[in-house]
């Protein structure tokens, strides 16, 4: 039982801890799991999250930053006053829980449809785009000399990577070809400024409360690169969940996002943001195809994976709306 292992772990470093309870797996692929649990202590309970690779799954996929880097980034973000959970413990071999870390659990909602429709978020929605602009400016301002080592990406490298991945599926998609061609023709070149990029700054990785954004999660795809990438990615239509006239996550405008970003002391380059929005739309399409491959090749033979393959066409219509809009 994971509760036994967690208990042995937390009593070593949590003052007065007597055990853990309510352990529940929130998500988990083969290589990475997220668990929620409560630490019991004399004064009551403390909500916690375990993010780990179980033993035997040391090697991270090539794009992943690794759990040690994720823990360090979350802690740095927290220390800089950004909405980020406090990292309570980085797993050690004697914890016998694999590799990863334990962080404070922050209450709130990550499911986009609830955030966009539920009454309790009605006051948060109008302020979120501006808040997230400011938060992303904070992320991009974290001092590089304190950051862990991460892969460095550029627009040119990303175009090549998307092209390679798309071709590996060996299934012709003329709209993706058109997008790759457009990206090549509009490659903005190396960014004047290379900063930390969150890499997956969107619904699902943001904890939202009635008061607005409470935490940024999931730094798995963090890297160094063009900061405008995060602003483009959060504008991708796939994260608007039907609210297609509100480009930022289905709740706000680009103007609000950009204003928040500039309030955070940084400059926006709208052309680069547009480039990364097109790239992001293609990237989600390629990811849908990749997940379908995981269904077909066997590691995750679920109906959900299969159906995600049929969502790639959503990104094709969005790419056409971006690159070949029809008049009227």
């Amino acid at each position: 039982m994971i509760e036994d292992e967690l208990t042995r772990c937390v009593v070593r470093w949590y003052p007065g801890a007597t055990g853990v309870t309510a352990a529940a797996k929130l998500s988990g692929g083969a290589s990475q799991e997220t668990w929620s649990f409560d630490i019991l202590h004399a004064g009551g309970k403390h909500g916690a999250i375990l993010r780990r690779s179980p033993q035997g799954y040391g090697a991270a996929p090539t794009r992943a930053a690794g759990l040690d880097a994720e823990a360090r980034l979350m802690q740095l973000a927290h220390d800089a006053g950004l909405p980020s959970p406090k990292v309570m413990h980085v797993l050690k071999p004697e914890d016998d829980l694999g590799t990863g870390f334990i962080m404070q659990r922050i209450e709130g909602e990550t499911i986009a449809r609830k955030i966009l429709r539920d009454e309790q978020f009605a006051k948060a929605r109008p302020i979120l785009a501006r808040q997230l602009g400011k938060v992303s400016a904070g992320i991009h301002s974290l001092p590089r000399d304190q950051l862990p080592s991460l892969r460095e990406m550029s627009a040119t490298k990303e175009i090549a990577e998307m092209g390679r991945e798309y071709r590996s599926f060996d299934w012709p998609r003329p709209v993706f070809e058109l997008a790759l061609r457009w990206l090549g023709d509009h490659d903005p070149g190396p960014s004047k400024e290379v900063t930390l990029v969150h890499g997956d700054f969107r619904h699902g990785n943001l904890i939202i409360g009635p008061d607005g954004v409470r935490a940024v999660l999931d730094w798995e795809l963090a890297h160094f690169g063009d900061p405008m990438e995060d602003l483009g990615w959060i504008c991708v239509n796939s994260w608007r969940f039907g609210e297609i006239d509100k480009p930022v996550g289905g709740f706000g405008s680009r103007e609000e996002l950009f204003a928040g970003y500039e309030e955070g002391g940084r400059k926006v380059d709208p052309d680069r943001v547009k480039f990364w929005e097109v790239m992001g739309t293609l990237r989600w399409g390629v990811m849908c195809c990749g997940m379908m491959q995981r269904f077909r090749l066997g590691p995750d033979h679920s109906m959900e994976r299969a159906m995600i393959g049929r969502r790639a066409s959503e990104t094709e219509i969005d790419l056409l709306r971006l690159l070949a809009p029809r008049g009227g």
């Binding site: 058109l178 061609r181 009227g328």
Partner: protein, 126 residues
């Protein structure tokens, strides 16, 4: 010739059974999986209903655009290569219209409730 009922009728019968009789008596993660399963059967029904006609129209457009007969996948490969090489682009007469029609036909099967698709249909006044 295979007999009746048709694959469309059979698939619909299963989807309707799951939707009307099983959904009310199931909960939790299995209810979520059931919804996915019903969505799959509905997609299959749409493809069986619409797929043949849209494939034929796509092949005819591609034959005209490329001057090339062949299977649909070969035609699409050829179009992809020409776009990649820059031999055809959005200035090429018929390309944009072809990509739009092909993509709308895919959405009609895959995700007819997708907001961007519904918006584009409204534009066509459908």
């Amino acid at each position: 010739m295979q007999d009746e009922p048709t694959p469309i009728e059979l698939t619909k019968a299963v989807a309707d059974f799951l939707r009307n009789d099983i959904t009310p008596v199931i909960s939790g993660h299995n209810a979520f999986k059931l919804r996915v399963a019903i969505n799959i059967l509905d997609l299959v029904t749409r493809q069986l209903t619409l797929g043949e006609g849209s494939d034929d129209a796509e092949a005819a457009r591609l034959a005209k655009l490329l001057g090339l007969q062949g299977s649909l996948i070969e035609q699409n490969r050829a179009l992809g290569e020409r776009i990649a090489k820059g031999e055809v682009d959005l200035a090429t007469p018929g390309l944009s219209e072809h990509l739009w029609q092909t993509t709308l036909a895919k959405l009609a099967v895959d995700q007819p409730n997708y907001a961007s698709y519904k918006r584009e249909l409204e534009r066509e006044g459908k």
